[in-house]
């Protein structure tokens, strides 16, 4: 009994330790600076939107809405690109008779073990030759090469009963028609999981945009806010308000789709 109780307490402690710092971002952003330097409790004594106001009125130095727009454009495009190319490829690999299919799929799977760092320098040079550096394309197009989505959808497509397709084929449906009318509608959960993962990974990416983008106007939120904190390091209220703007969309995605996210991560580990 006592043991059961201590497990309860420890788990609660773990959960609180994880969530409290995140809550602090949001609560502290509404505190005046005095209350941040002299910490008196979680909640602000005096709620203020001054920190946000200051960011919004300094759009010359801190073009945070530009960064928000850039992040939205890039992450949405990556999500669409990944959904389209990965689902087409996964369908072809799972269902159509391609000579060398096994070989191609193994090669794609093997690259899931390749640490991303090895690609940084060569991809930078390729993007420079394409004249894509400092444009959104530098962050959108290479993101379509990842193997995770092909793997995820391939596993899902393989679980769909063949009878449905055979019936459609007898009715004269083409492979593309089967993909569109049968495979995609039946795969909504897997597509949703992939979309969320692609969006969040792109939104949170830090190293690639920092290396591939140059102009402050073209930064994504994580790179912009990092630059901003280096010049306003001591003004925690201001930097934390910027963090709120950077984090809010992701928290909303998380609250709306947490089931998909947890399932997707668990599936990754169990498919070994």
């Amino acid at each position: 009994m006592a043991r059961k109780f201590s497990v309860e307490i420890l788990m609660l402690l773990a959960a609180v330790l994880c969530i409290l710092p995140v809550a602090l971002i949001f609560l502290t952003a509404f505190k005046p600076d005095v209350e941040i330097i002299h910490f008196h409790g979680l909640l602000p004594k005096l709620w203020t939107t001054e920190n946000f106001h200051q960011i919004f009125t300094q759009s010359e130095d801190i073009p945070i809405f530009r960064w928000l727009g850039n992040s939205l454009l890039i992450s949405t495009s990556v999500t669409l690109l990944v959904l389209v190319v990965d689902s087409l490829a996964a369908y072809a690999l799972a269902r159509l008779e391609l000579p060398g299919r096994k070989w191609i799929f193994s090669l794609i799977l093997a690259t899931m073990m390749v640490p991303g760092q090895i690609l940084l320098v060569p991809v930078y040079l390729i993007l420079s030759k394409l004249h894509w550096l400092d444009t959104p394309l530098a962050l959108i197009v290479p993101a379509g090469a990842g193997a995770f989505g092909v793997f995820l959808l391939h596993q899902f497509f393989k679980g769909i009963p063949r009878e449905l397709e055979e019936a459609a084929e007898l009715d004269g449906c083409s492979p593309l028609g089967i993909y569109w009318h049968i495979m995609l509608p039946l795969s909504r959960p897997a597509l949703a999981t992939l979309a969320i993962f692609a969006f969040v990974a792109s939104w949170n990416d830090f190293l690639n945009p920092m290396v591939f983008l140059d102009s402050i106007d073209r930064y994504t939120l994580p790179v912009g806010v990092a630059l901003f904190q280096s010049s306003y390091a001591a003004e925690y209220g201001l930097t934390l308000a910027a963090c709120v703007i950077c984090t809010l969309p992701i928290i909303l995605v998380f609250l709306a789709f947490h089931k998909h996210i947890i399932k997707g991560i668990a599936a990754g580990g169990l498919k070994e």
Binding site: K4, V7, L93, L119, V200, F206
Partner: protein, 290 residues
Amino acid sequence: MSRQSSRTLAGYLLLSPYLLLFLLFLIFPLVFGLWLSFMKYELISPHPPRWIGVANYTEAFHDKYFWKALWVTTIFVVISVPITIVLSLAIASGLERLGARRQNLYRLAIFLPSMLTITVVGILWRWFYEAEFGLINSLLAEIHIGKIPWLLTPNWAMASIIIMTIWWTIGAPVIILQAGLKQIPEAFYEAASLDGAVGFRRFFSITLPLLRPVLLFVSVTTIIGAFQIFGQPFLVTSGGPERSTLVMMQYIYGVAFNDYRLGYGAAMSWLLFLVIGLVTIFQFLIFKEN
């Protein structure tokens, strides 16, 4: 055209958009990076790139900062990964004993930090660690404990990076290990309790062996991620003090994109790749043997 060959043609057509991206931005850069590592390729140099054989690699072997960065990265991996795995296994087992509702709620709370971008995590923890009016030292002062020089001495700086990394990344291992625990059939535990195996004996004789494939996956992916640590030191300590947290990726980044020595940067990327590859193979061998 026969039905068979038209399906083959359709297959290649549907595969081709992805395959093109895969070849151009994954396979080609791998090979291209290897080739670059044998070149003197300097963006701001007036000389065109030229082949210099293994000179970049011999430079790395004589570069004391390369060894320092590799050492710092290894220390980080060796300390942070075992803590992450043991702690996430403990949390996953603990969660399994709770009711379904709290299990889900706590798991969401524990995963929430992993949803944040490193910029936000860095800003947050810089504030926590700040020596004078940082949150942790302020709270310690309240209970009359002296200030901790979090980011100011080499050892504390490394500890700071490790603590924030564990907080940031523990969510995924917890979810994966808990899913693994759920897959172990109840019958095994029933049989074991008939044999009198309870508590830790039950854990070591049943849970751990049956969890081995999932543990292997978690340990491989955690280690691959840990070797590539970048944002935490870059944003929180800038690699200091005295290069005590200057990891491989930050050194490669500096060489390639501040000094524009792409050839040397590519060579060090390949050396890091080699280290990660060997450690990964080693793990597969260990997990197989037992």
